[in-house]
């Protein structure tokens, strides 16, 4: 199930919310656990079993680590086995096909069959969450969770289950057992949720249509290719950050507080800054559980560069089991190294407008590697960006671009904190609740309009 659907908003959410607040506190985690499984299993019920297995595995690992708290050797073995099991599951379901395809290229393994394994939704997210728990227990950064229900609720928590943010266990440890729901928190959550819904349905989805239209039309011309990849850049941002907003908003409605996941990344003045603002929970996870354990920057420049390289290759691979994602990660790894070595100092000296252009250009280009899975795809699209062989802008593409110009401008403004700043200034004014409510209703009704329209399929007369 996804948040941006009629099913979620008008049925799942409405029912779960009602039951949640009718129940006494002690039953609320239990309800959430069940609700999470329904949410997760709605589309593909079979994978609920996989998730339950993962919950049990990590719950037991936690208990064992607690039991052998004084025995360093035993703890190390438990942790090692746990990490192997978690990564093994993730590896099997996400990377087995990719690995087999690689092996096939080696003559000895040419006969190997490529397994056909469906990717369970959200496995990359919840595997990282469970690992954060076990590693933190190992390190003594958080206590063992003795309640299976509470732990299961954490792993499967529906707001962040399928698209993050990746919530570290230690960040919600206390909230799992003693959280204070309040009207104030709830109201905050509603507003964040509706902002996220509008970002996803009213901007990202439409940007997706624009990108698809311009991408497919190979004679659209150079300008169209640029508008297309910019539309895709906006789609990814509003889709992902909109989803994170909805997750954070829903969290608030049920008394949870998650850390923010996006912080206006497209206003960054360097790639380094961009990655401090983009998918923050993933960057934090890799820094805390990979980069620093590898030695981070404490073992000399050479080792640091190697560590950055490893972390970014893995970051890329986390996004998908394909070489283009690895390349995409390494691309950023290299840029970050260059910035760290000398470029950052230089960027600080030049006017902001150039640093913005520099950053946005490199980020927009990166999405090409993110989108196209083959070198052919990448090169042919690059060709459209940097050659005039198809002209500047065909008539059809011009019509598409002009029709989408107002929304593009809205999206540009929405990439900046402008609206937030204005809202902040006006906070507390007596008319603000009305303004917020109107904006909220508009977001909800227009989103519902778009979602209902998706199901509106008139048969043409001649097909009748």
């Amino acid at each position: 199930m996804v948040f941006s659907s009629l099913l979620f908003i008008f049925l799942f959410f409405a029912v779960v919310l009602t039951v949640y607040y009718c129940l006494p506190k002690k039953f609320r985690n239990g309800l959430l656990f069940v609700a999470n499984l329904v949410f997760y299993g709605y589309g593909e019920p079979i994978f609920v079993l996989l998730m339950l297995f993962s919950v049990a595995l990590n719950y037991a690992s936690g208990l064992l680590l607690g039991k052998f708290a004084e025995n360093k050797k035993a703890k190390q073995i438990i942790l090692l086995l746990n990490v192997i099991a978690n990564l093994g599951l993730l590896g099997y379901f996400k990377y087995a096909g990719f690995a087999a395809a690689m092996l096939q290229k080696i003559p000895v393994f040419a006969g190997i069959a490529i397994p056909n394994i469906a990717l369970p939704i959200g496995i990359s997210f919840y595997t990282f969450q469970t690992m954060s728990y076990v590693i933190d227990v190992y390190r003594g950064d958080c206590a063992v969770q003795k309640s299976f229900i509470a732990f299961g609720t954490y792993v499967s928590l529906f707001p962040q289950l399928i698209a993050g943010p990746i919530v570290r266990y230690k960040d919600v440890d206390e909230q799992l057992v003693s959280r204070q729901e309040s009207l104030e928190e709830f109201d905050k959550g509603v507003k964040i949720f509706l902002v996220g819904l509008a970002k996803k349905v009213l901007i990202a989805n439409r940007m997706g249509i624009l990108w698809d239209t311009l991408r497919v039309d190979e004679e659209a011309g150079m300008v169209a290719a640029w508008v297309g990849i910019i539309a895709y850049s906006l789609q990814i941002y509003f889709d992902f950050s909109g989803y994170s907003d909805m997750a954070i908003g829903l969290g608030h409605m049920f008394g949870f507080e998650f850390l923010k996941n996006f912080d206006y990344p497209y206003i960054s003045k360097s790639i380094t800054e961009f990655w401090r603002r983009w998918h923050i929970s993933l960057g934090t996870w890799f820094r805390e559980y990979v980069y620093i354990p590898l030695g981070g920057n404490r073992k000399g420049k050479v080792r640091q560069i190697l560590n950055i390289f490893i972390v970014w290759a893995l970051t890329g691979l986390w996004h998908g089991a394909s070489w283009n994602f690895v390349f995409w990660g390494v691309y950023f790894g290299i840029l970050l190294m260059i910035e760290k070595l000398f470029l950052l100092k230089f960027l600080k000296k030049i006017p902001a407008v150039f640093t913005h252009i520099y950053t946005l250009f490199l980020v927009v280009i990166s999405w090409i590697f993110f989108y196209f899975e083959t070198t052919d795809g990448i090169f042919s699209f690059m060709g459209r960006l940097f050659s005039l062989s198809d002209g500047l802008l065909s008539q059809d593409a011009a019509a598409t671009v002009v029709a989408n110009l107002p929304l593009l401008l809205i999206a540009f403004v929405a990439c900046t904190p402008l609206a937030k700043k204005v809202h902040h200034k006006l906070e507390g004014k007596p008319f603000m609740p009305v303004v917020d409510a109107i904006a909220g209703v508009a977001s909800l009704l227009l989103s519902v309009g778009a979602l209902v329209y998706d199901s509106y399929n008139p048969f043409l007369y001649f097909r009748f």
Binding site: G43, A398, T400, P406
Partner: protein, 374 residues
Amino acid sequence: MKKVYKYLSSFVFLALVFVLLLLFIVMPKTEYSSNEKRVLSEFPAVTFDTVADGSFGSKFETYLSDHFPFRNFFVGLNAYYSQLLGNNGATGIYNAKDGYLISKPEAFNPDRLTKNLGYISDFAEKNALNAVLLAVPSPGSMLEDKLPKVHEEYADSKAFALIEENLTDSVQFTDMRDIFASSDEQIYYRTDHHITSAGSYLCYEALCNALLLPPVDRSAFHVETSEGFYGTTYSRSGLWLEKPDTVELWKDDSLDVTVWVSEDGSENEPHDGIFFTDHLTEDDQYPVFLDGNHGYTHIHNENADGGKLLIVKDSYAHCMTGFLASHYSDIYMIDLRYYKLELSPLVAEKGIDTVLYIYGIDNLSSDSNIAWLA
């Protein structure tokens, strides 16, 4: 009360969510969407298997969106919001000047058109028929001055050039573009892709010209009108506030014909006359002409001098065929999308000597069913 005001967003949000949910549960479900011309989905079966394999889940989602309360309102809201954003054409329909709702261009498929022209020529040659092709230009290409300034390109000129180049001499081609362009009548409906009765009369005149027949003069008809026609471009657009069209029935009192319709060539219930006026009570009134799309339509005219005509067509033919009825004792109108029998035996059996191909240019360029002629 103070609290309600402070947290107004939450109260309004929850009220909307729960009211819509409640309405979804209690409101009676409509089975048929006349705007979409399709049966809406039914509540899916709940069994262990359907739930376990996820098929119940996806079908229930379809059910929910098909029966969502105020569904048409939301479709309209989305359409007008797109207009407000300057995205004219977001639903596939341009909101053009003077209330015209015009489909965006279809993708042009020159290979398909070339093939179709081949089938058309071959069929005429094989059966030794006198043959005429009339392709109605797309509304968007003829009404370009009403479209938004920057709009997608219609492929009509390419398609017509291809016809002129590839059609063999065995088929006469009737080009309506100049005739339409120089006429000051309303040729196309505003809310539908079809041509009006006036437009169809112009086609009829042109066809008479090609067939060497004297057309019935305009003065022989008296015109009856029916208001409130909402056509297919209207349905697709979601722009519910647009004005409806008027359908004109050009009646020739001396014309006395019997019509049979079926999908397979059978003739069961005879109908008196070319107008099926029951359809005038529906939103989409175009089927008033010869009852809309059927595989097989037979029009018999006792008083005609004779001559048997075959029309292979799409829905653009329905109105103009009515005019032709006064010249032929029997017209057999075939729609290859529904009629799946071989046509040559029909030609031989009925003693047909002339064939008209009447298509909208977009269909002629894209319809794969024309291959049934071969």
